[in-house]
Amino acid sequence: MRLCALRLSLPVLVVSIVVSGALSLTACGDRESNVVQGNRAGILHAGNGTEPQGLDPHVVTGVTESNIVTALFEGLVTKNPYTLEPEPGVAQRWDVSDDGLTITFHLNPAAKWSNGDPTTAQDFVWSWQRALNPAMGNQYAYMLYPVQNAEAYATGKLDDFSNVGVKALDDHTLQVRLNAPTPYFLQLMDHYSTYAVHRPTIEKFGKATDRFTPWTHAGNLVGNGPFTLKEWRLNRRIIVEKSDTYWDKDRVQLSGIEFYPAENISSEERMFRVGQLHYSYTVPLDKIPVYRAMEDSPYVNAPYLGTYFYLLNTTKPPLDDVRVRQALSLAVDRERLNNTVLHGTNVPAYGITPPGTLGYQPPRVFDYDVEKARKLLAEAGYPDGAGWPGLELTYNTSESHLKIAVALQQMWKDALNIDVTLANQEWKVYLDSIDQMSFQMARRGWIGDYVDPNNFLDLFLCDGGNNNTGFCDPEYDDMILQQAPRAASREERYRIFNAAETRLMEQMPIIPIYTYTSNHLVHPSVKGKPSNLMDYVNYKYISLDPDWQAAQ
């Protein structure tokens, strides 16, 4: 009988678990949401994609990392989130020489590290050496390439860093010499790969170029940004709190931010819905019409500096024939795709550069034209799809890529009577296919690192590392590399870019599909988080309305 009692204990255990679960149900019914608590305490709860790879500005590469790094560090300049114009950061002001080749930054004497040390010009020189050091393996080292000799140093052709064009004239004056006038250079000074890092902290944990020391962990990290790292729990959350040593701390209105790595976008949307998040990293496509239909919709959609396109491998038939490439592109009804499958969230694209990139407008070389597409295909030897050898479209596994591919597959079938097969690949396999050019047609996206047409057009240089199409036009290279940088004015420069992009789109090594938009759900209590082309957040501007609840 004793044994019986023992065996029955399992159901008893289950029942007690159920009961205790039921009890805890009632306990949490009246719990305040993160948003309500956060509004009172000034804590922003932000959905932030995936677990950040790290927080070392010279190691990380992604948007999720950038969102946290910009809270913990500050560059020479920051940006106004409304206009994206440079604003003082560590540098109070800067002078550009008349020839545009020398920039002198005057650092704010009040700028400090979070341990109280002053942020100096020497910190920047040392940090840029670290960022460019080939042993560091910094994937964004090229952001500093406009600096004299920086590229030579980063690729190991130059060993002596003193020949690189950056010098500390004194503790608070940093002089930078450039290879050529670079209109977008100030923008680069707000990219995390050009940030200064705290030398004593890094050296405490290892060599300057070691990637895997724990100097960025909570308790170790010393930064110079408006916030300091308080807690970092893997795959759970990262908490930062307002810094006491930040030079502009009076303007920082939040007392802290909690970043959640909400990997699954449907889960993130649910977290937002129950008030666990102030804003979401993105929005599931199918939810967009629902949110858009709401009164006082939290859905925010704005143009984003990126283009979604298909790469065409111009080295393999049938895509080695420009007429086939043009036919494919002309047969895509971008408006229809956008209005149906994409719920009107994006902007149909007809060029590689997003329209309005710092005032630049891409040329419109072609339109949706099925008749012309059919004619071109017939001229190429496939009248009404006869003799079509087949074509494979490669894309990395994702529901939105799939939806677009399925819709286009049918458009090509209907317009040109040709079969296109789809092949999804797991992310790293896909990257390998792109890199090796072992595809016929492949989905691709490009997000600008800085707001300038150059950042998109230099993709298709003959030896461009991200060209991946086999497209090579010496005249195009000359325009981008030689003519544009020497242009006398912005208008002249854009005219050259426009002519280059026209050449590119006539050769059609890519099929542009749409210009990206940023999509967020933003709680109405969040103020000072405007939409902008770079989806850039400046936490100094953000505040939370503590009375929001009362206003409802």
Binding site: K287, R336, V341, E399, V406, L422, N424, Q425, E426
Partner: protein
């Protein structure tokens, strides 16, 4: 034991073969027959789909988009305006084929492996079961990705990949059954009669372990259908516009609030299949209960 089964057993005494008896007994189990009928119906529909599907499976109507069930589209349409009924019918072809073939692969390997290991015991058993442990531990995803690189994308590979993982648990279950059966009198009698191990396994051990094996098999079929969806995400498996129930369900899950029918009907197809399999499995188990029959 319940009364009907005893009459079954009495009847079975006059039967000529095990399978004929089993069939006779199965026919008396109404739920099992119903299950069999539903499965046969699904298989028949799957076979005839190209001729009886109301629409073409790739036929889109982007402007229509996702609509709930209507007279024109009995089960509604998906976001491309494709007819869901057609999608489910074509998806069933893939899912049923994957479910049955891959499970059969797993069943054959797993049962054979487990039976041999369990019967032989000792060093051979240890070696065979440790191999199973190794295969359990290897990172399956990397394995699939590599298989695809080496062999390319094809359906045969899909069956093999699924069979390769699913047989492991099957082997463990079979082995534990055989181990306990091996000690029983009728097996010892068979050994003393000088029957070969292969005969003993085939004639005595496998039939006696059928209960748990059938049950596990019926559970494996639906999980294999869902595994196929995961493999499709890795790039193995079917490519759009072809589809399968697993894929339909996983896409349906993404928009379950907005377009619930996209989830409901493929889910219903899978559930019906599963329940039919289970009723059939139970019926088969009872019908093949040789021990009962021998009393």
């Amino acid at each position: 034991m319940s009364a009907p089964l005893i009459t079954d057993i009495a009847q079975a005494e006059q039967g000529t073969s095990l399978w004929r008896d089993a069939w006779l007994r199965l026919r008396r189990n109404r739920l099992a027959v119903l299950g069999l009928a539903v499965l046969c119906f699904f298989v028949l529909v799957a076979l005839l789909t190209p001729w009886i599907a109301p629409y073409g499976y790739a036929q889109q109507n982007l402007e229509l988009g996702a609509t709930p069930p209507s007279a024109a589209h009995w089960l509604g349409t998906d976001i491309f305006g494709r007819d869901l009924l057609t999608q489910i019918m074509y998806g069933g072809r893939v899912s049923l084929a994957v479910g049955f073939i891959a499970t059969a692969v797993a069943l054959v390997i797993g049962v054979t492996w487990g039976a041999i290991a369990g019967y032989a015991g000792g060093k051979l058993d240890a070696a065979m079961m440790r191999l199973v442990d190794i295969l359990y531990a290897l990172p399956f995803m990397i394995f699939i990705v590599l298989l695809m690189v080496v062999f390319g994308r094809n359906m045969l590979l899909l069956f093999l990949a699924i069979g390769a993982v699913e047989w492991l648990t099957m082997a463990r279950i079979m082995r534990s059954q055989v181990q306990s059966l091996r000690q029983q009198e009728f097996v010892e009698a068979a050994i003393s009669l000088g029957l070969s191990p292969a005969t003993i396994i085939r004639r005595h051990l496998v039939p006696n372990a059928l209960g748990p094996i059938i049950v596990y098999t019926t559970l494996t079929i639906p999980s294999v259908m869902l595994l196929e969806a995961f493999l499709s995400f890795l790039g193995l498996g079917v490519q759009p516009p072809q589809t399968s129930w697993g894929l339909l369900i996983s896409y349906g899950a993404e928009s379950l609030e907005e377009y619930p029918w996209l989830l409901l009907y493929p889910g219903l197809a899978l559930t019906l299949t599963l329940f039919s399999l289970n009723f059939l499995g139970d019926g088969l188990r009872d019908a093949l209960d040789v021990r009962g029959a021998k009393d």
